[in-house]
Amino acid sequence: MKDQLYKYLLLLGDNSMILGHRLSELCGHGPNLETDIALTNISLDLFGQVRSYFKYAATLKEGETEDSIAFLRFERDYYNTILVEQPNKDFAHVIVRQFLFDAYHKPLLEQLMNSKDETISAIAHKSIKESKYHLRFSSEWVKRLGDGTEISHQKTQNAFNTLMPYIEELFIETPLELAMKNEGIGADLNLVKASFDKTMSDVLPSANIETSDIKLRKTNGKSGFHSEYLGFILTELQYMQRAYPDMSW
């Protein structure tokens, strides 16, 4: 049980960490100052959540710290979804990736607020405010880009075509998630999915985005099977901890 809870915290934290990392790559390179600040802010929120999850996880396993958990695992021991690993191809990809994640993350946190595990519930209570803001930000930009100019519409539709296929695994329950749900600790992904679908039907029509023909892809990042991108992300993320082991910073 303790092992499962530990792993579940990693699963929750890894999504935030890898997405936070992708957003942090953009710091100083945004299309204008306001979006640069907003995206950095979202990254910062996500890393704040990561710290909460990993600090808690570290109390469950002898010898671990938030940093050893963040930086010193091998690739197969990260449990984030493939969606959040996707690169910052252009601003449309950044926004659509964010929107798809937020539409999943917000209802996930809403459920975790009622978790039997008090720490998870407390983290969710704190994070939900951030997640609501993230979803508002990304939804507004999806509409703005989808219904802006011909070029922005095309780029946004392309981003959905590329990224939407990765949503499937968000809602497929792994044995770990099933166990956590049954314990009253984890979220029910069917309910998360219902909320996600509602967000899509609320936002996409006004953005003139069509997703009905998009075929979903079989991926399983949550069990440690990643895309080729993750190795490179970890190379950067882990560089200092690997090059200078056992030092404090």
């Binding site: 945004g30 710290r51 940093d67 922005s152 030092m247």
Partner: protein, 318 residues
């Protein structure tokens, strides 16, 4: 013409009395231009300054350090935004200022044309570069132009936090392993002289200083500020157990200041002229962000116009 001279006299007496000049007040054209130049260059420095530090966000050594650095770089963006707004009160747009940066017409602080090669550079920048910036900026909180002075009050608070954060990074390294100490010393070696150059040329080579002092844009000369920085920083380096890379640096009891060696002014002018280690990379990065962002800015504008048109239509309809 007589009218103009009279206005200038009144203007100067307001400054002499310590009054703040506000955007809608009459001001000499040269005062306006000097401020546009100075405030926009300050804003550009904040924005270009995000790049060398941003360079280490993805490789920060711990989650805490990563969060601190993200927050810091985000603060710099906020400062840029704030300063661009202050400059806009003088009749220039942010887009125009951006174009001046990209064309090379407007400058930014030369320090950001040096590369960040190790994690310790993030500490050194916070400690030295923000430390030098604060010395300049504290003076500017009392500058005569109201919006600039007020922006500086807020910016100074955040900068001094950044400076302490940078020093704390250095302290951690100085108390760490030999590899960490070496990293810290190497960063100090590389950033010391460029930090001294941040105060600008020697007083005798700074032709604008006299007018700037008269208008209370500046209240101390470049050399006075540089000396102040050295006097504060030298004991901090001692405390860290690091050596400032200047054999001539020595406390002078008689002067009550540190003596220091000659700055390499040839290097200073080369970097100002665009020939520093990273000038091209910095401007290329800003240019890329600007070009890549064009369709996004166009889309935002088109969307806002559509929404406004819809609102007008529904008003007319009702």
């Amino acid at each position: 013409m007589t009218q103009e001279i009279k206005l200038e006299e009144i203007f100067q007496s307001r400054i002499d009395n310590g009054e703040k000049i506000e955007p809608k007040d009459w001001m000499p054209e040269k005062y306006r231009k000097t401020h546009i130049r100075q405030i926009s260059q300050h804003a550009h420095s904040e924005i270009v300054g995000m790049l060398p530090e941003g360079n280490w966000i993805t490789r920060a050594p711990s989650l805490k350090r990563k969060c601190c650095l993200l927050a810091k770089v985000q603060d710099e963006a906020g400062h840029g935004l704030y300063l661009y707004s202050a400059a806009e009160t003088l009749g220039i747009t942010r887009d125009e200022m951006t174009e001046q940066l990209l064309s090379g017409k407007a400058k930014y602080s030369s320090i950001f044309n040096y590369p960040t090669l190790s994690w310790a550079d993030i500490g050194a920048i916070g400690w030295l570069v923000d430390g030098a910036a604060i010395i300049n900026q504290v003076m500017l909180t009392r500058t005569s132009f109201g919006p600039y002075a007020r922006a500086m009050v807020r910016i100074c608070k955040e900068e001094s936090f950044h400076q302490r954060q940078g020093y704390e990074i250095m302290l951690g390294l100085a108390q760490g392993t030999q590899a960490q100490k070496d990293m810290a010393q190497d960063a100090l070696n590389r950033f010391w002289w460029p930090s001294l150059m941040m105060f600008g040329p020697r007083d005798e080579d700074s032709p604008n200083t006299a007018q700037s002092m008269k208008w209370k844009i500046k209240r101390k000369t470049n050399d006075e500020l540089r000396q102040q920085f050295i006097d504060i920083t030298a004991p901090q380096a001692d405390y860290l157990g690091l050596t400032i890379p200047d054999p001539a640096l020595k406390w002078n009891e008689e002067r009550g200041h540190y003596d220091y060696g000659e700055i390499d002014w040839e290097e200073f002018w080369q970097v100002v002229k665009g020939n520093g280690p990273c000038n091209k990379e910095r401007i290329d990065a800003r240019q890329k962000a600007w070009d890549d962002g064009e369709w996004v800015r166009d889309a935002a504008m088109a969307y806002a116009n559509k929404k406004a048109a819809n609102r007008n239509e529904s008003k007319t309809g009702s």
